[in-house]
């Protein structure tokens, strides 16, 4: 490499490196540093290093919260995939002019604040809210159901908020699918199930992986949705971190919890991608 091309390479990479430094490395470094410090008497940070915040996280109480969070995020991902995949497939198989309209419908809810939409769900789900009144009005139930402030409500809210993040990557992958491959599979004797299982799903797996990650990771941390819909009974890791930084004023423990969350997410993503990616490492789309 001549000095000249090396200089050009540095110049080309500089924006990316600066971006990652400013928005990834430095913030994460700060969180990591704080997680190793000690909480001051009045909630400040005392720079006395140690792993005590991580040791504290090993308490079954916190591990239980982490496990609950993983379960809720996992269920949310599965529900979002179960709804999102058929929807994305339906959209991708419409004529092109319809696809854009349908995708616009997916995106329109984003134009309203997520918090307000979550409040709207609370209104719908509460004891004398829209849903219960409707069910009573139809004579299906006699007394209001307790839906709000359950884990199901939390999953519902998370799925609702995150569904577009599942649909869009899935749509991108399904839209790229060569329909002639589906025809070829049918031609070679494959039933609808085999076509789906052996051709459509494997070929759209990159979209499934991308969508799942984009739902799973935020679902672990969207504290306000679980706060508003899940109530006090479902404290998830996002809520825990939120409370450490606000009410509890324990930044070091909040930071340590954040680091644990980040590491667990990374490990799970790694396992997931490894497990579900095509056996062949090369790109085939």
């Amino acid at each position: 490499m001549t000095p000249r091309t090396r200089f050009g390479l540095v110049l080309l990479l500089a924006p990316v490196v600066l971006w990652l430094l400013a928005f990834q490395v430095i913030p994460l470094g700060l969180v990591l540093a704080v997680s190793l410090s000690t909480r001051g008497r009045y909630g400040g940070i005392v720079w006395e290093w140690g792993l005590h915040n991580y040791v504290r996280f090993l308490d079954p109480l916190y591990l239980g919260i982490l496990a609950d969070s993983l379960i809720v995020a996992g269920i949310t991902t599965i529900v979002a995939l179960a709804i999102g995949y058929p929807f994305a497939y339906y959209v991708a198989s419409r004529p092109p002019q319809w696809r854009n309209i349908l995708l616009l419908l997916v995106v329109i809810p984003f134009w309203t604040n997520m918090l307000i939409r979550t409040y709207a769900w609370a209104m719908i789900l509460r004891a004398n809210g829209f849903l219960n009144n409707l069910l009573i009005g139809l004579g299906l139930i006699d007394e209001p159901l307790q839906i709000l402030y359950t884990q199901s409500a939390a999953v519902l809210g998370l799925t609702y908020v995150l569904l577009p993040f599942m649909i869009l990557p899935l749509y991108a992958a399904i839209e790229k699918l060569d329909h002639r491959l589906v025809q070829a599979a049918q031609d070679l004797g494959a039933s609808s199930w085999h076509v789906l299982r052996q051709v459509i799903l494997p070929l759209t797996m990159p979209g499934v992986i991308a969508g799942s990650i984009m739902v799973f990771v935020p679902a672990l941390a969207l504290f306000f949705v679980t706060d508003l819909l899940g109530g006090a009974r479902s404290l998830l890791i996002g809520n825990l971190i939120h409370r450490q930084f606000t009410q509890a004023r324990d930044w070091p423990f909040g930071a340590a919890s954040s680091v644990v969350l980040t590491l667990v997410s990374l490990v799970l993503i790694f396992v997931y991608v490894r497990f579900f990616s095509p056996k062949d490492d090369e790109e085939w789309i």
């Binding site: 002639r180 491959l181 025809q183 070829a184 049918q186 031609d187 004797g189 052996q198 062949d280 085939w284």
Partner: protein, 360 residues
């Protein structure tokens, strides 16, 4: 022959909105026959093939395969397989998996599956390529995999949708010969779609020439080339000279065609539709290689040479025979007397009655 045909298409039509892609096709495909649907793009040949494969439902008409009405059967329940123009190999499967796919759909036992995949890879000269992915193969190799995948489950009929279109000329010629010999060895009925008349002539037992959703003519290569039944067929297959002519019937019963003043007896039967009146105006088709110089004393057309083009295997000569008529095209052997003319020369030209076809 008395033998039941492999495929019967009866009164087949297909409309896309107001467009009639297939406008009434009746066709029988025999056992072990190589039949080509030949025509320009938009003639309905691919739509016909897609109906046969089950990807399109006909607007009306029936499809029978091996004595069964399969008109309403989905593609996976028809004993036909297709070689697609784009090959449509599964990119996420190895060559082995691609070939095994149709066998797995038939629940073939494992040991037999491996044996048959290897046998078919050998058949298309791709032994040792089992673990490759389609993208690691050349176009010609992908084409062979697609072919092997389509025949491995032993379909009753193999459909081929312009499978050689993406290959370069040399490879295409080699593959034409290979396909034909493979078809003979398998004894399988092939329905081949192409717009390339040379390809059709090289491989087919019979050619169905299509235009505007209909079959214009069906017959062996020699029949459609030498006895075209319409002007479209005459012009689409090979090169030809279409000349205006009038036909009259002699008292003896013999029909005489007058082409630009040159009279020639018409050989064979003349359809009554061609000659209904005393002086019928028609066209005659004469192939360029059938035009020759007239003997002394023989009636002839006088033409002036416009151009002489060397084409390797022969020489093309263009000669003007009448002011308002396209120049006469001739093809002759490199060292024949006609081949050594130069522009401006006057020639006396004629052809044998047998080499002329009357067309409306």
């Amino acid at each position: 022959m008395g033998e039941r045909p492999k495929v019967v298409l009866r009164g087949l039509t297909k409309e896309f909105g107001s467009v009639k892609a297939v406008a009434g096709i009746d066709l029988e495909i025999r056992r072990g026959e190589f039949l080509t649907l030949l025509g320009p793009s938009g003639c309905g040949k691919t739509t016909t093939l897609m109906i046969l494969a089950g990807f399109e439902q006909p607007t009306s008409g029936e499809v029978w395969i091996d004595g069964n009405d399969v008109t309403a059967a989905p593609p996976n329940r028809r004993p036909v397989n297709t070689v697609f123009q784009s090959y449509a190999l599964f990119p996420h499967m190895t060559v082995f998996e691609n070939l095994a796919f149709p066998l797995r759909m038939q629940r073939t036992p494992k040991s037999e599956l491996r044996r048959r995949v290897e046998e078919h890879l050998h058949l298309v000269q791709l032994s040792g390529y089992e673990e490759r992915y389609p993208r690691q193969l050349s176009g010609g190799q992908q084409q062979r995999v697609a072919l092997a995948r389509a025949i491995i489950a032993r379909p009753e009929v193999l459909l081929l949708d312009e499978p050689l279109g993406a290959l370069d000329l040399r490879l295409r010629r080699d593959m034409q010969v290979e396909l034909k010999s493979l078809q003979r060895r398998l004894g399988m009925a092939f329905v081949y779609v192409t717009h390339d008349q040379e390809e059709a002539l090289t491989m087919s037992d019979r050619i169905a020439v299509m235009q505007n959703g209909r079959i214009e003519q069906i017959g062996t290569g020699a029949e459609v080339y030498e006895r075209p039944s319409t002007r479209f067929v005459a012009e689409f297959i090979g090169e030809t000279n279409l000349l205006p002519a009038s036909v009259r019937k002699e008292p003896s019963g013999q029909h005489i065609a007058s082409v630009l003043g040159l009279t020639r007896p018409v050989s064979g039967d003349v359809a009554s539709s061609v000659v209904s009146s005393v002086d019928a105006y028609v066209y005659v088709s004469v192939r360029p290689e059938r035009i020759r110089q007239a003997e002394v004393g023989e009636p002839a057309l006088v033409g002036r040479v416009l151009d002489r083009i060397y084409v390797g295997s022969g020489v093309k000569v263009l000669a003007e025979v009448a002011k308002d008529c396209a120049p006469l095209r001739m093809l002759c052997a490199p060292h024949s007397p006609l081949a050594v003319v130069s522009p401006g020369d006057e020639l006396r030209l004629t052809w044998d009655a047998d080499d002329m076809v009357l067309l409306t």
